[in-house]
Symmetry: C2
Subunit: 218 residues, 2 copies
DNA sequence: AAATAAAATTAGTCTTGCCTAATTTTATTT
DNA sequence: AAATAAAATTAGGCAAGACTAATTTTATTT
């Protein structure tokens, strides 16, 4: 079994790999975890010894098949616990991430599967991220952002790309949730701000950064 | 906040204090946690510095008011999670302790209270131990054992004193649960074995040790 | 009271997971 | 190609929490 730190590194590498599909460097991992690059080098050695990753100076860090499988299960637990916290305990979606960050490390052979069943086998977590099944398969991840939409079109909020409290609380204030319909009315060419209509209501203007943080479905 | 180890020591001291009401020595703590006495001495120093315990060679280890409060909240979390695992996820009562041992350390200001509400404010955990309320108060702990009962009397199983898998699985086999009615038919004077009738069914004989591990209500 | 046994404590070590500072390697500019 | 900047690595250290072995203190026997 893996330690809590090993699991956090694994998950971090998995996320960087999914996000960018780019070369994963020690510096990138360090930045993402808020650790020092020297510490990352230590952990790279440990995970390499455990055959969970392969590190090549040219290609960067890559997960082995085993590492990928293990990382997926941690993500599965994280997202299932998020659903539990939101749906069963009534937390808001800006409060659940940090708690799930701890819950995901609870070790028991059948816990995730029982939780999954208890929750009714949800496909997506409260942020719109797909929940891996026990076999590692998962539903589609959305990749189009509101900023990619062409003016005049309508869309449905599918997921959030940014899960910081600041962003999520802003969404709560704007009354935007997963499933909310948004129409892009105009894109201001000066700074790419977006004029939108939320659920058919009066117009609001949001920044480009905002638009790039919302994943949509058409 | 406390580390995982500090919390485990606190809870251990709390349990020893409730169980025996006796002098709590480093050796007793070491035995209970499966640690070396030298390690216990280290932790006694740390908990003393944090003003959670007072240690006096004559009187042994004692929890301060703060230590007692903190220990109670850990026990609260442990028992609430046990209820969750049994009632919502369908685990058996011999499987929940170890998982709750990890879950009890999840840190969030409102988690225990939300879980408590979600579970319907249970008074007792699946082993019959009272669940402390947020204010530290809790329902009665049972102390009479089946071995204390006088032959001919009837009782209700209120709690288990021993929570090892071996004992709990034996209870499952005997079809004994919290709430089960037991009649003590005879006490064998040779070795204090007990002849009992479970839920009015045919007689069974159990050992003295068994009788001392079942807490009852009359 | 001495002798012996048990319990408590100290001293020193180990592993994990982090750090800083120094150095080496690799990339990017000029 | 040389100079400079950035990234990666090494070396050494620290705190937590455990350990073993040695020693001291306290309790129990004889
Ligand atoms: Mn985590
Ligand atoms: Mn999420
Ligand atoms: Mn625990
Ligand atoms: Mn219990």
């Amino acid at each position: 079994m893996h330690t809590l730190s090993e699991e956090n590194y694994l998950k971090c590498i998995y996320r960087l790999w999914q996000d960018k599909g780019q070369k994963i460097t020690p510096t990138a991992i360090a930045e993402s975890l808020g650790n020092n690059p020297a510490s990352v080098v230590d952990m790279i050695r440990k995970l390499t010894d455990k055959q969970l990753i392969v590190y090549d100076k040219k290609k960067g860090v890559e997960l082995t098949a085993q590492g990928q499988k293990d990382a997926t299960l941690i993500v599965r637990r994280h997202r299932l616990w998020e659903v539990f916290l939101l749906e069963k305990l009534g937390y808001h979606w800006d409060e659940i991430h940090d708690i799930a960050e701890e819950l995901e490390h609870i070790k028991d052979a059948t816990l995730a599967d029982r939780l999954d069943k208890f929750l009714g086998f949800p496909e997506y977590d409260p942020h719109g991220d797909p929940i891996p099944k026990a076999n590692g398969k998962m539903a589609k991840r959305y990749s189009t952002t509101l900023a990619d939409l062409k003016p005049g079109s309508q869309c449905r909020v599918a997921a959030v790309k940014d899960t910081t409290s600041a962003f999520l609380q802003y969404l709560i204030k704007l009354n935007i949730n997963i499933g909310t319909k948004i129409q892009l009315i105009e894109k201001i060419s000066f700074d790419s701000s977006l004029v939108i209509s939320i659920d058919g209501n009066e117009r609001t203007t949001v920044s480009q950064k905002f638009g790039e943080s919302l994943l949509i479905d058409m």
